[in-house]
């Protein structure tokens, strides 16, 4: 299995000097409930940031503040060095492309009319880019949006978000309605844009797709950023998933074990755990285990990292 955390492109990594997004102590409360709680992070030019977390973690609340749909209760949100405020958000939006998985589009318009409408709001000739995107996404531009399937609406939203060559792309569950072929097209487009210096901030439930394109991952839980890791850090952290079938119960290594499970089936013990320590420690431990029937060792993925953050802290909640 190929390492999940290897970078798919390197162009963006050489350009990350300018701060595009800056959140400083941002809290958003709805009544007494803090949907985002004292969040701080920065995103630099050319980064592709995956923004992951369970439902209700505060991802969309954060994205709403990034786009100026809502104001933070406390703290500051800056885009391109300027404070993001609802009344002046349109100035930043000239450099932002946005699409979400549940985006509402005017149902009475055709795909063509909506894309033209979106293009017209940003000065410049975007026709060449439109042709490019139309070729790869193949949106049903002549059909009324109201008559389209969810996936086709999603293609229209993505083309409209990308068509003006924005400096920053903010995406909220962007592939939730796309078929696997279109998901690949989407990921290729993100890679291509990133290679040309576009900054991407993308929330997604599809951890594999986040892992494939991201240079950095923010993991959010209960309104807080729990992990902020670059691809290198994730790769270094890496680790293995070990599944072991033995005749006898085994004693796990003392340290560096995450999410251990053990079941007894057909007279054998099936033990599984994530190991995030040094490989030599794991090898030494395995050599001491007796009665081994079967053993599989695979690389940990972002999904496992995600689960370890959520499941290891269940007791804290």
């Amino acid at each position: 299995m190929a390492p999940v955390w290897s970078l798919q492109y390197t162009g963006a990594m050489t350009k990350n000097t300018t701060t595009i997004i800056e959140l400083n102590g941002v809290t958003k409360k709805f009544g007494v409930y803090a949907a985002a709680n004292n969040i701080s992070f920065t995103v630099r030019e050319g980064e592709v940031v995956g923004f992951v977390g369970e439902n209700g973690a505060g991802k969309t609340t954060t994205i709403n503040m990034l786009l100026g749909f809502t104001s933070p209760t406390k703290g500051t949100v800056k885009l391109f060095g300027s404070a993001m405020r609802p009344g002046s958000a349109h100035i930043s939006h000239r450099s932002i492309g946005y699409a979400s998985g549940d985006m509402s589009l005017p149902e009475d318009m055709t795909g063509e009319q909506y894309i033209q409408f979106a293009m017209a709001q940003t000065p410049g000739d975007h026709s060449a880019r439109y042709r490019e995107l139309a070729t790869v996404f193949r949106p049903q531009i002549g059909k009324k949006i109201g008559d389209m399937s969810r996936g086709n609406k999603q293609k229209i939203a993505l083309v409209a978000a990308f068509v003006t060559n924005p400096k920053l792309v903010i995406l909220d569950e962007p592939t939730s309605g796309l078929d696997p072929v279109m998901q690949d097209v989407f990921l290729d487009t993100i890679r291509d844009m990133a290679a040309h210096g576009t900054t991407v901030f993308m929330s997604s439930h599809y951890l594999q797709e986040v892992a494939e394109v991201s240079t950095r991952v923010l993991l959010m839980k209960q309104g807080r950023i729990m992990e902020d890791l670059t691809a290198e850090q994730l790769e270094r952290r890496g680790g293995k998933i070990v599944t072991l079938t033995t005749k006898h119960a085994v004693t796990l290594p003392k340290d560096d074990v995450v999410i251990p499970t053990s079941t007894r089936r057909n007279g054998y013990y099936e033990t599984s755990f994530d190991f995030i320590g040094k490989p030599s420690v794991l090898t030494k431990w395995l050599s001491g285990v007796t009665g081994v029937i079967d053993v599989t060792i695979t690389d940990r993925t972002l999904e496992h990292e995600f689960k370890s953050v959520y499941e290891s802290e269940v007791g804290d909640e």
């Binding site: 609802p86 349109h90 939006h93 509402s104 409408f117 709001q121």
Partner: protein, 263 residues
């Protein structure tokens, strides 16, 4: 073509057509009934036996002898204003909270469109739609007045049309502002219905209920006495009051909508 104003008009084309036809049909009925209504005597005697509140609903029957005052009292003063008031509230709601609930407002605001520009373009579209739909009355009256051997001058029609439009713009803008300020359907609907129904009740029953008459100035219809408008022209004060209400509502919505969270 790619402005919010034009998109709104395009989006509302069937609404415009439907209400235009509706107003034209209403005007048609009123014009067609004019010959039987203008026969003096019978209706006057009947109305004399009715309570004052009912007379308020039916309008001043002394106005029936002239076509212009007949249209003022029977079409513009009651029926068209009431029907168009309902339309104005529906229109204001559909351009604001309905779009916000569907997520379309967020979609528009994700583009480089400022909140001030978005609000003003929607408001202008609303004002234009009210204007165009009310033209259904004008078209029907001028198309059919020859068939009943009657005529209304262009000046009288213009005054009635302008004041109807002004009252409706005020009702629509107050509802629009409540929606843009709060983003809540229930509040916007409540404000719109209170203004509309409250004005109607106060103006209608103010004739017969003494204590209510003291509050008649609170009714928006108080500033559009249609028969008086035909006879004596438009009162500047009425235009100022309705215009001020509209301007204040619009300004309040601009100030708050620039800052508030969009759902």
């Amino acid at each position: 073509m790619n402005s919010v104003f034009v998109r709104t008009l395009q989006d509302k084309r069937w609404f415009i057509l439907g209400w235009f036809i509706g107003f034209a049909l209403l005007a048609t009925v009123m014009v067609v009934f004019y010959p039987s209504m203008r026969q003096e005597g019978t209706l006057d005697q009947l109305m004399a036996t009715m309570p004052d509140a009912f007379k308020g609903v039916m309008g001043d029957l002394a106005d029936l002898t002239r076509f212009d005052t007949y249209l003022a009292s029977q079409l513009f003063d009651i029926r068209a204003s009431l029907l168009a008031g309902i339309m104005a509230i529906i229109l204001a709601m559909s351009l604001t909270v309905s779009e916000e609930e569907k997520g379309l407002l967020r979609t528009m605001l994700s583009l480089p469109v400022s909140r001030v520009s978005l609000l003003l373009q929607k408001w202008l579209a609303m004002v234009a739609i009210i204007f165009v739909t009310l033209l259904g009355i004008v078209v029907a009256v001028y198309a059919l007045q020859g068939t009943v051997d009657a005529a209304i001058t262009f000046a009288a029609m213009t005054k009635l049309f302008f004041m109807t439009w002004l009252v409706l713009v005020a009702i629509a803008t107050i509802t629009f502002a409540a929606a843009m300020i709060t983003g809540r359907r229930a509040i916007a609907m409540l404000v719109g219905v209170l203004v509309m129904a409250g004005s109607f009740i106060v103006s209608t029953f103010g004739m017969s209920v003494d204590w209510l008459a003291d509050y008649e100035w609170l009714s928006l219809f108080h500033y559009f006495p249609a028969s008086e408008v035909v006879r004596q022209g438009i009162e500047t004060n009425s235009v100022v009051v309705l215009g001020s209400l509209t301007a204040i509502s619009l300004a309040a919505s601009l100030i708050v909508f620039r800052r508030r969270d969009v759902n």
